[in-house]
């Protein structure tokens, strides 16, 4: 069963949501995230600007899980690296409940309950994405050591062994 939120309410909610997320950063950073509109100069702000609306739409209307996952990925991938605890990294999803309470016209307990449980669904996806990103960071770190020079060294050592007709000593 779908929730009822007008375009206007959604636009207001996205704007408020954006503000709350941005205000989680130190003041100087928040100003930059808000004011710099070039997506390549401000990829963090651009990610929020472009992805919050589709995430909200998914929460309200349901639909393609893969699409919302990729929207969440764009935001969470960044937060997974910034100086935050895991709960802070995904908490931006949760604050949407407050935003809804503040802005939605339909304040009945039924509407609120439905909305909140859909937010919980998005939160769980965000948490999966977060875990995946963290795992990737560890994997990259381990792999880098090997890729860098060990690969060449292993090839070189077996070449030396072959040349010397026995195991290399150097």
């Amino acid at each position: 069963m779908s929730l009822n939120l007008s375009r206007d309410e959604r636009t207001k909610m996205v704007a408020r949501w954006f503000d709350l997320i941005v205000d989680g950063y130190p003041a100087e950073t928040a100003r930059f995230l808000r004011e710099q509109s070039d997506p390549f100069a401000n990829p963090v702000g651009a990610g929020l600007r472009e992805e919050l609306a589709p995430i909200l739409d998914w929460i309200v209307d349901g639909g393609d899980g893969a699409a919302v996952e990729s929207a969440l990925d764009r935001i969470v991938r960044i937060r997974a690296l910034q100086d935050m605890s895991p709960s802070q990294a995904v908490s931006f999803v949760l604050i949407l409940k407050d935003v809804h309470e503040e802005i939605a016209a339909d304040t009945t307990a039924g509407a609120k309950g439905k909305f909140d449980s859909r937010v919980d669904g998005a939160l769980l996806i965000a948490f999966d994405v977060f875990s995946r990103c963290r795992q990737q960071v560890y994997d990259i770190r381990v792999k880098e050591v090997r890729n860098r020079s060990l690969k060449v060294m292993e090839r070189l050592n077996s070449w030396r062994e072959e040349r010397a007709g026995g195991p290399s000593t150097t």
Binding site: L20, I21, G24, Y25, P26, A27, E28, T29, F32, L33, Q36, D38, P39, F40, A41, N42, P43, V44, A46, R77, I78, L81, Q82, D83, M84, S87, Q88, S91, F92, L94, I95, K97, D98, Q136, V137, I140, R141, K143, E144, V145, N147, R148, S149, K151, V152, M153, R155, L156, W159, R160, T170
Partner: protein, 540 residues
Amino acid sequence: MSEKSPQELIQIDLNPPRKKWMDPSVDFESRRGTWSYPGGVKSIEYMGFANPREWSPTDEDWKLPENWQQIIHDGFKERLGKYRSLRVFMETCVRCGACADKCHFFIGSGDPKNMPVLRSELLRSIYRNDFTLAGKILGAFAGGRKLTLDVLKEWFYYFFQCTECRRCSVYCPYGIDTAEVTMMARELMMLVGVNINWICEPVANCHRTGNHLGIQPHTFKDNIEFLCEELEDDLGITVNPVINKKGAEVLFIIPSADYFADPGTYTFIGYLMLFQQIGLDYTMSAYASEGGNFGLFTSHDTIKKLNYKIYHEAKRLGVKWIIGGECGHMWRVMHQYMDTMNGPTDFLEVPRSPITGTVFENARSTKMVHICEFTADLIRNKKIKLDPSRNDKYRVTFHDSCNPSRALGLFEEPRYILKNVCNNFFEMPENTIREHTFCCAGGAGLGNDENMEMRLRGGLPRGNALKHVRDAHDVNLMSCICAIDRATLPPLAEYWAPGVEISGVHELVANALVMDGETERTKNLRGESLKAETEETTDV
């Protein structure tokens, strides 16, 4: 259970908003992954640097000399007298903020202390306190602060979070170069033994054997012969590497990562194939076996010491001029320091390509030509035959490495080469290339694995632009002309733009290069089929 409301929960504790930038304190323990390990005792002792000891940034006590504040104060004073630029940089900033949002570490981390203006302010506040009248009298009211242990810890954290990429300086109306401020802060920290191993060890190795990895001459030769044999086995192409040949016309200087780590090795083989094909009379040196110079991240004295071997070997081998390979910060040293530190030389000639006759006027003083200038000139004069279709499986973009672009102004040559050796070339957005290029976030000694979190954070702006061309044009290869980039960009791409590989420019040159007497090529330098796999199956 946390009592926090969601709105409280989201507040990032970087630097709580109400707290002023002047209050220092860094919790190293909780920020693992964003700082580098300190310099090892062996390297520090070997170089005769100050205060060799075992220590960790997480320790309460950093085991500093008793009079460390005085040492830094005196060192600061000496440098203010010696380098006019430092005094100007300390005095001039009007805090206009033009540089504030230009640093990749700020953009990626959101930490205001990564704004270049605040990074410099970490040093400037001490300058005000110690060397200006207003600061001495008014202290914090005049923007001054005392050099406490917490301030020093903060220096360590943030000055080893600057890759000296100089992007910020492009935007400063006064030309203030925060990279130079970082260099000075690092020099001052060196005086009391506060440094990182990823710099100290390469410096010590380089001093001992001529390259960062500590490879000795016989291993250098072995490595290169091995790579050449691999080429012969894989592609049936024979090249004869020349090492320590007296009387060769050209000395060729390369970064060590090119002959020791993938994907640099492919670029290295690319250089050799090109030289073989045009019959260049060149030699490498088993002693000047490194173009990189981590002295640049240590101190001016160390830059000079490590750079000296290049002219020394040029003289010993009796060459006429020098070609330098695809190395990044090497070119900053060559262009901005070598001539005054160890040159000008009286035993070299103005570089003149023996193949085209072109005289490289721009290198009249240093006698050192960038390989991209050399190759672009060959192409322009039609002295090499190229088959760009051999790179058709690649959809290529070009990452301007910070130093060749901002320190050397080398924008067009690599692009000219790429457009001649590939059929599919796409630029990343304007404000992320040429002098506006975004750093790989692993330069200036920060490309170590313990610092991976910070590297990936700082890699966001480059990764974001790369992802854009990947999505818009199916770009699958980012080419660059820096050995550090070739090491640091693969993880960056894996996290931010998966599916994009990294290469040097001369790897692609060699793929396209038609060599005399060659048999039909079916594989590229990586030993992969020349065609994309999907094409291959439809072709058959």
